[in-house]
């Protein structure tokens, strides 16, 4: 049962750990690494030693992060190949080895020869102009990115690198996990737990459903042994020691890397106000432990209710992570607008600030679109969010993109004043507080205001002479 991690440690530590395990063996039931769960299927005859498998999800994370690099290169066919192709030889452009942070895999095929297009949310994307479905939005953005220098269209303030990346994290990873695996696939009649997921598989239906959902979140399998700061450093490729859980000198993209929304969760949690990352991974772990205990029997209604309760913890926290990102980038967009206005007033060169404005708005838009593809009807919140942000950032001359014409060209119309759009960003932040109860509140533009109101509120206000 001891893996390399234990044998690699000095003897005194093993002694301490062993005695700790002996003393608390009963409370040690919950594992803290999402790996090596046993095969529960009695009839399994293959060579696998564990029932855990979610390589396809990690391949999609690698495709998404590689695509992010490709957008700025302007080669549409390369973008399409990563988005919808099937070649195993596609190189993993990111994350790539950086100094001592050595990445184990170099091609997509070493993980799994998947693509993103088949798993992109097929519904309408109302927050993007042109009445397009998810895959159509992606194809449209690829074309536009190829036309723009380095994937950046300064005239419309569109940063396609950010737009595509953040949209895909929502339309593929988030949508697949919360609207498919953690939703209809938890029902009794789909992928039951007393049968293999498919013929010859080492895992039951529900075991694999749960594992795939875990993979889409993008957290390292040993997240619960790490702090949020560690996971953040792993995503930034700054801490190989934290990443390399099995001490083989390489970072395994399958099990040891941090991707996607797990990275964003860590970025908020490291501030100390939230615990999204550990709450989500903890719920995945609890659900998986429950499935091991079910031992390949069909889940009872109460067991499925329990599993759905874990799924709900994951969904709620995941949604909050995206809402925190919307909050953060609305704040950064606002700050960019303050800077741009000041530069314009002093007749300075606005191009660098404009680049940042486009980047932050692209992230804001991407996350805002992502928030709306979780499979639940957000009703008025969705409408309000899309109207406040609009189809593009506010452009100089107080216009905004309002649509796409039949040739696929953007249509601009008169819109808000500069200050009016800044107020929209404030309202986006308020909306995230009101509807999703965000807590980390990065780049909060009204931070301290509530406290000031409180401090004045109580003062002798009713006293009169």
């Amino acid at each position: 049962m001891f893996n390399k991690r234990f044998t690699a440690k000095a003897v005194p530590l093993t002694v301490v750990l062993t005695s700790a395990i002996l003393i608390s063996s009963s409370s040690f039931a919950r594992s803290n690494v999402y790996a090596d769960f046993p095969i529960t299927l009695k009839d399994y005859s293959g060579s696998a030693t564990t029932s855990v498998s979610y390589k396809g999800q990690m391949a999609r994370h690698a495709l998404e992060s590689s695509l992010k690099k490709l957008i700025s290169k302007g080669d549409v066919s390369a973008m399409q190949s990563y988005y919808s192709g099937g070649s195993a030889d596609r190189a993993i452009i990111a994350p790539a080895t950086k100094g001592d942070f050595v990445i184990m895999q170099s091609t997509i095929g070493e993980l799994s020869s998947k693509n993103l297009s088949g798993k992109t949310y097929k519904g309408l994307i109302p927050g993007w102009p042109g009445n397009m479905t998810g895959p159509e939005v992606v194809a449209f953005m690829f074309e536009k990115a190829a036309d723009a220098e380095g994937g950046y269209d300064a005239a419309h303030a569109y940063d396609y690198t950010q737009l595509v990346s953040k949209f895909l994290m929502g339309a593929v990873m988030y949508n697949q996990a919360v609207d498919n695996y953690l939703d209809e696939k938890l029902e009794a009649d789909t992928k039951p737990n007393n049968k293999p997921y498919k013929d010859g598989a080492a895992y039951t239906g529900k075991e694999h459903v749960w594992d795939e959902a875990f993979g889409y979140f993008g957290a390292p399998s040993h997240t619960l042994t790490l702090t949020a700061q560690d996971v953040y450093n792993i995503a930034k490729q700054k801490d190989v020691t934290a990443a390399d859980y099995n001490y083989d000198g390489k970072v395994d993209l399958y099990k040891e890397m941090a991707f996607g929304h797990a990275y964003y969760a860590s970025s908020f949690d490291k501030g100390g106000k939230t615990t999204y990352l550990h709450d989500i991974v903890g719920a995945y772990m609890d659900g998986r432990d429950m499935l091991v205990a079910a031992n390949a029997t069909a889940l009872s209604n109460s067991e499925r209710d329990q599993l759905k309760a874990y799924a709900q913890v994951i969904k709620t926290n995941w949604e909050k992570v995206i809402a925190e990102a919307v909050f953060k980038y609305a704040g950064e967009t606002y700050e960019d607008m303050v800077k741009i206005e000041a530069i314009l007033e002093s007749n300075g060169d606005v191009s660098k600030a404009w680049r940042n404005y486009s980047k932050h708005w692209g992230e804001l838009k991407g996350f805002a679109l992502a928030l709306q593809v979780g499979g639940k009807d957000m009703g008025a919140t969705s409408v309000r969010l899309n109207r406040l942000i609009g189809h593009s950032p506010l452009l100089l001359g107080n216009t905004q993109v309002t649509g796409v014409d039949s040739n696929g060209e953007y249509i601009q119309s008169n819109s808000e004043s500069w200050g009016g759009y800044m107020a929209h960003m404030l309202k986006v932040q308020n909306l995230m507080v009101d509807e999703f109860a965000v807590v980390a509140k990065s780049h909060d533009q009204t931070a301290g205001l509530a406290a000031l109101v409180d401090s004045l509120g109580a003062k002798s206000s009713a006293e009169n002479d």
Binding site: E341, L449, L456, K459, S461, A462, D465
Partner: protein, 293 residues
């Protein structure tokens, strides 16, 4: 009941024990040095049961207790304050551009504390003036003016509706002031505080604000009384004499009264009777104070 005691333990409130003690000291010095009365008379004057247990004072206490229950209903008004502040802050964006250069924090604090003080004081003056001038409002404010003896506790002899109006005033003024200052100075906005209360308010209360509701007619030089309301001037405001009617509405600053032609400065050895002309003894019944006669 904790709210009731908070009146005496909270330096934000006029009835904070520290302010009562400082007022007592100021009164002793004033009566001894200026009016040259013997110390024994002064001390016995402080504990004069004819004042503290007069019908008027007992009415103060009854209304105070009654308002403790009523004041709980004010909580939702304060909740609305954040929403209103945000509304002001957001709408400032439509009128001005957000400054990107920052001024020193101490200067922001000084500006904010001063602006809040001036706006707060002006709005008190204005509402107080309206309480007298608008017949409907006077029906509520009358409860305060029916006091025939003044003690520091008379400040709480207020009709509950008046308390609501003054709370609304505070919400509007605070929201405006915060929303506007936050727009221009962002995170550096804060109040210069002493004991957790605005510097100006603490200074005002420490300098004997409690004496305005008392029989100690502490006055200032007449030139100063055109700038700051002295206790004697506020006692004129409570006078039964028609020539004193509708004067000295100010809370701290007399400037507003001076501009509004309602400033009356004190006279040496003024003898003032407090209350409303022709009021009956019944005016001190709780029912009359609240519903009117």
């Amino acid at each position: 009941m904790t709210d009731f005691f908070a009146n005496f333990l909270n330096p934000e409130k006029r009835l904070f024990v520290g302010y009562l003690i400082s007022a007592a000291f100021i009164a002793i010095i004033w009566i001894r040095m200026v009016q040259k009365k013997p110390l024994a008379n002064i001390v016995s004057g402080f504990f004069n049961s004819n004042i503290w247990f007069s019908k008027s004072a007992i009415a103060d206490y009854k209304l105070m207790v009654f308002n403790q229950f009523f004041i709980k209903l004010l909580a939702p008004i304060l909740v609305g304050q954040l929403a209103l502040t945000l509304f002001v802050f957001e709408n400032m964006h439509l009128l001005f551009s957000r400054p990107s250069t920052s001024i020193p924090v101490w200067m922001v604090m000084l500006i904010f504390t001063s602006v809040l003080f001036i706006l707060d004081d002006f709005s008190r003056y204005l509402l107080h003036r309206l309480m007298h001038r608008i017949p409907l409002l006077w029906r509520f404010h009358k409860a305060h003016h029916s006091a025939t003896n003044l003690t520091p506790l008379t400040v709480l002899r207020t009709h509950p509706i008046e308390a609501v109006l003054f709370s609304l005033r505070a919400v509007i003024v605070h929201s405006l002031c915060l929303g506007v200052c936050f727009f221009f100075f962002a995170g550096s906005v804060s109040l210069i505080e002493i004991f957790g209360s605005s510097m100006f308010v603490v200074i005002f209360h420490s300098l004997g604000s409690n004496l305005r509701h008392s029989h100690v007619n502490l006055s200032y030089w007449n030139w100063l009384e055109k700038i700051i309301v002295s206790p004697a001037q506020h006692q004129i405001h409570h006078s039964i004499n028609p020539k004193h009617y509708d004067s000295n509405f100010g809370a701290i600053l007399a400037i507003w009264d001076n501009l509004g032609d309602s400033c009356i400065v004190s006279e040496k050895n003024q003898e003032i009777k407090f209350g409303l002309k022709g009021q009956s003894e019944k005016a001190h019944n709780l029912k009359n104070l609240i519903i009117g006669s």
